[in-house]
Symmetry: C2
Subunit: 224 residues, 2 copies
């Protein structure tokens, strides 16, 4: 029964996602859906990314959380336009839906944006199933989570277009094999670009920024 | 619509959970539901816990994952009886349901067990909503996930009876405030016992083992 009604929910979301995609095309804005487990460092990665991209690329952010505006409070300090979705008023939803994102994007305003980043709810399972009308999906994996996560949560890594292996500054203190982590991601998703980075030390940011700028430019003709 | 059908799913699960609870009472086994984000160290914590508890306490484990038998392969080396549930055959479910757990418990056999530990799927959201007929719930939070997670995922910390703050060996390399992490857990769930531990260095295990042995004894009269 669960599977049947899950399918129904996904169908409804699919229709909404098409509406969102059309809206984002009209606004000529590139939309990135950023997903990961709780605490992988999405927000810190975004703070650094925004600081490095702006003002050359004009960025807006929609942040999803069940509760609190902690992440939005951090992101707004970069100077980006930020809005927070809290899903506790929608039953504490474990993912962002296309209609929630579209509502927020309309409120945020997209006319003067080149790039809209959606920081999804920290969850390595459910957000992978919900198309939000994005152009690309990025998954962030912290090295502290262990090398086997791509094999245990394959859907997330299969639907992602790009991956960030984060917190590499902690590798000396962990029994984690960095190459195996990357290898497992590419086992699940062959030829997916994986950027090995540290949001803290800012190691490894350039290739990620280049990838993102190229994607924005390919869709919108802006920002390069 | 999502909230309405979610409620229906939860109602069906509630009925199943009552069946499970009755089964576990008949078998006189204490059932612990262990939950956390992916990569918080549940399996390593369990490996150490089992080694320290057995043979005085007879332990069985049900491990939930979407894919792979990695965790079961690790746990079986402790000598415990272990069974793995993979939810990829059930639509890649993001949580264990009461009926899945009961099926597995019957297959595993509970007649000669004092303690059954269910390692739930790595997800800080959905498993908190699904009663599996357990006696107690433990949540594991890795210090690498940051202090604010209890505030951002309050339901999980509200339904938990006990918490483990794990990987404290990594604190010297992180900008994380250990006391604030504990404080945030107890803000969401006042007076919840929080054990600060490292599965790697085995620091802080005794109070956790004492808590667990007491709980098993209180229900079953066994294991102390």
């Amino acid at each position: 029964m669960e599977i049947k009604i899950q399918k129904k929910v996904l169908q409804v979301n699919e229709t909404e996602a098409e509406k969102s995609r059309k809206f984002f095309r009209q606004k000529n804005v590139f939309v990135l859906n950023m997903m990961s487990s709780p605490g992988s460092g999405k927000t810190e990665t975004l703070c650094k990314t925004l600081t490095k991209l702006m003002p050359g690329v004009r960025v807006g952010v929609i942040v999803g959380d069940i509760c609190t505006t902690n992440d939005a409070d951090r992101l707004v300090k970069t100077g980006a336009r930020v809005t927070q979705i809290n899903t506790d008023q929608f039953g504490g939803d474990c993912h962002l839906s296309a209609s929630l994102v579209l509502d927020s994007a309309e409120k945020l305003g997209c006319d003067d944006l080149d790039l809209l980043i959606v920081e999804n709810i920290g969850n390595l399972v459910c957000p992978a199933e919900f198309d939000i009308g994005e152009d690309s999906r990025a998954v962030v994996l912290s090295v502290t989570e262990g090398e086997d996560k791509p094999l245990k949560y394959p859907l997330m890594f299969r639907v992602a277009d790009v991956a960030i292996l984060n917190k590499i500054d902690l590798l000396p203190y962990l029994d984690v094999d960095r190459d195996l982590a990357v290898g497992n991601m590419q086992k699940v998703h062959p030829r997916m670009p994986v950027f090995e980075m540290s949001a803290k030390t800012e190691e490894g940011y350039e290739p990620w920024l280049d990838w993102l700028k190229l994607k924005v430019f390919e869709k919108t003709g802006k920002g390069l």
